[in-house]
Symmetry: C2
Subunit: 423 residues, 2 copies
């Protein structure tokens, strides 16, 4: 064991750890010999184990002091588990229906034990690739975003609590820096981390790096990302951070969380729905042209914003006489004024969300980390066709977001991106 109390677990050590931790062993059942342990990873950063006992189950997630998928050559603080646990608890308190319960957190071990999201829960992104519709998705995710963002903002909180959170989450700087690099910097410069479907998109990647207007817009968003402490955001709310069944939606993995701009979460989710939309032509086959599925994705993007807008505004109305610092009831003391204030706030938030969403799309096509939506399209020519349309749309959105007044206009624009076939 290292002097800081950290010890990376394997399956054998995990069993010992569970035996020594009553809150875990009591949940799983008495017979530790019966434990079924499955290492699942989570793709990139951590070790994740599913543990099933005679009377219960749970997931153990341990952060290592480096990025798992790259190795020890890419160090990253395991303290990220602390911020993940903090946010799981806070978001779980605010929206228990869509955040898995935490059973146990061990800071020296960077270890979180939480609810096992049993089958048929799968990662939403995998469902989108498979063409599965989730009729409650927009309803659920808008609920999660409205509650977590509203209640951690100055619309609900006073300044003292706000600054406490800001100070605390300044400690998650390494993860914030990673986002800055991969979302706001690398796609716009020559970087050996970048990749794209080459040679098809060589010129497209170059044109991103040489687009002055795009670079001016991304600068504004990058500064907002670093400077603006608007709410406790998840920080990585793409479709790979959501697990779903037809009637359950669970948000996981908030290790990038900090006090940042709300639009970064909303944009991440909606932007990734648009990525899923543009990837569908690559998944169509003779049995399924995916046309109706594309419509469902777009409808879900549209509903997500509209439902979020309605729910967030409703929370604001319900709490307008509360202790939020931003709009004191004695100042914003008539309904016409409050309505105007809300319209202005939501308009700005809409444009922020479109900007961040576009940025998140661009980085998935010409940056370091790609998405299964496109990666699973085997035919590189076909994949490049889909990616190029997504990229064109995202570039337009980043530059022209202020001309959109409602989400249905954005959806229409997505449908109007040129390129009807890859023949």
């Amino acid at each position: 064991m290292a002097s800081d109390g950290f010890r990376p677990l394997n399956e054998k050590l995990l069993v010992e750890y569970i035996k020594a931790t009553p809150s875990l062993s009591s949940k799983l059942g008495e017979e530790s010999a019966d434990l079924v342990i499955k290492e699942v990873g989570d793709g990139n950063l951590n070790f994740v184990y599913i543990v099933i006992g005679s009377s219960g189950s749970l997931v153990i997630k341990q952060a290592l002091p480096y990025v798992r998928c790259i190795g020890e050559s890419f160090p990253m603080t395991k303290e990220r588990a602390y911020f993940e646990a903090l946010t799981l608890k806070e978001h779980g308190r605010l929206c228990p229906g869509h955040v898995p319960e935490i059973y146990h957190f061990d800071r020296p071990m960077s270890l979180i034990a939480m609810r096992y999201l049993e089958p048929p829960h799968i990662i939403l992104r995998k469902g989108l690739v498979a063409g599965v519709q989730y009729p409650l998705l927009a309803e659920h995710i808008s609920d999660y975003m409205a509650k977590t963002l509203f209640y951690t903002s100055l619309l609900f909180r006073g300044t003292t609590e706000h600054k406490q959170s800001v100070a605390e989450f300044c400690g998650n700087v390494e993860l914030c820096r990673l986002t800055e690099q991969v979302v706001f910097s690398d796609p716009y410069q020559v970087s050996h981390f970048n990749r794209w479907t080459s040679p098809y998109l060589d010129d497209d990647a170059k044109s991103v790096r040489e687009d002055n207007v795009l670079k001016l817009e991304i600068a504004g968003l990058k500064s907002m990302f670093i400077e603006r402490a608007q709410a406790l955001i998840h920080g990585d709310l793409h479709t790979g951070s959501v697990m779903v069944t037809s009637n359950s939606t669970q948000v996981i993995d908030p290790e990038f969380s900090f006090m940042g701009p709300m639009g970064f979460d909303i944009g991440a989710f909606i932007g990734n729905l648009f990525l899923a939309y543009f990837s569908q032509d690559g998944h169509a086959d003779q049995n399924n042209d995916r046309e109706s599925y594309k419509m469902w994705i777009l409808k879900t993007a549209e509903d997500t914003w509209n439902l979020f807008n309605a729910k967030f505004t409703k929370l604001w109305h319900e709490n307008k006489d509360g202790s939020g610092e931003a709009y004191l009831p004695e100042v914003y003391n008539n309904s016409e004024l409050l309505l105007q204030a809300q319209k202005k706030y939501m308009k700005d938030l809409f444009h922020d969300s479109l900007g961040f969403g576009a940025a998140k799309m661009i980085r998935r096509i010409v940056g370091i980390a790609h998405v299964e939506d496109f990666e699973s399209i085997k035919d590189a020519n076909k994949r490049a066709y889909c990616e190029r349309r997504a990229l064109e749309f995202a570039k337009m959105l980043l530059k022209e977001r202020h001309r959109f007044h409602a989400i249905d206009e954005v959806v229409s624009a997505a449908q109007e991106v040129p390129g009807k076939s890859f023949e």
Copy 2:
């Protein structure tokens, strides 16, 4: 002595404190019997002593755990002295020519010893009331603002250092809350702290409280003040926080400092110059109509912004290949792009400054703390006339700031405010 090591000093205890503190006694000279001590206060918050010894002099400033001018019924953390000392050191390091040197800081005692700004240094506001021109003022204050704001922003700093500062200065929340209340809230609601030249301005104060457009604008600025950590700002940079002679300009009292929006400092200074401008008609007499002095004030406001703009941009150019996180050299890699980025940044900063400046003017006319510029006008009718013109100008500026493209347009607007006489 309290258990936290705090002990409020009087003159006698101060002599003992100095004797027991070698860094102070060595500065003043051996013979402590010869010390000349003068209690000067600083108006509102603290005890301030000038201490002159046989071989040197200094100022001792001690924060008390309440607001001195109100009394123990208005508690305020004496930890503000810690943030004042931090910022004096950091701003002094960045701009030693315009920040008094700190000799000693005692955190348990909330006590700062610093350079005594010897006569003829006076508070700038008093000079403005007296009608004294300071030919180097714009040059000096723009130097201070450019250096302190640029070097503590993401144009120069990396994210890690930035977040360290943000977290540290979150501790100064009580002072930030005071600003929120007196600048962004109280003037726009009924508050027993508010006052104005009554009955003359009763309707004017009421119209501020009932102006929906004004309230929408102030909401945006208030949120920016709390949420946006752009640079280490002074936080209270009005003309009472500057001491001057004809060739020296020294910025004092940064106890309200925190990581906030740059425009709050720039606006505070320029807004208070406009207050001085509008007060001049109340100081004119048969010997001096103050017309040429008014022109000097306006010229100083204009020069302050234009020189700040030039110096800040120059620092940006000089440091464009440095470690600032906001505009990486590999991304903003051509001079046309960098120029566009700078124009956009400075345009936004200009509008922020006008907005905050206007807010700082309004609060000095209908809020709790007024300024000597107007208070020293004995004739209430005359004073109300001057204040009303300042208020009308400030309201217009807050609402319409985005239509101004350069500071000379703002200066022209100030000259065009109706009301040529108070007869």
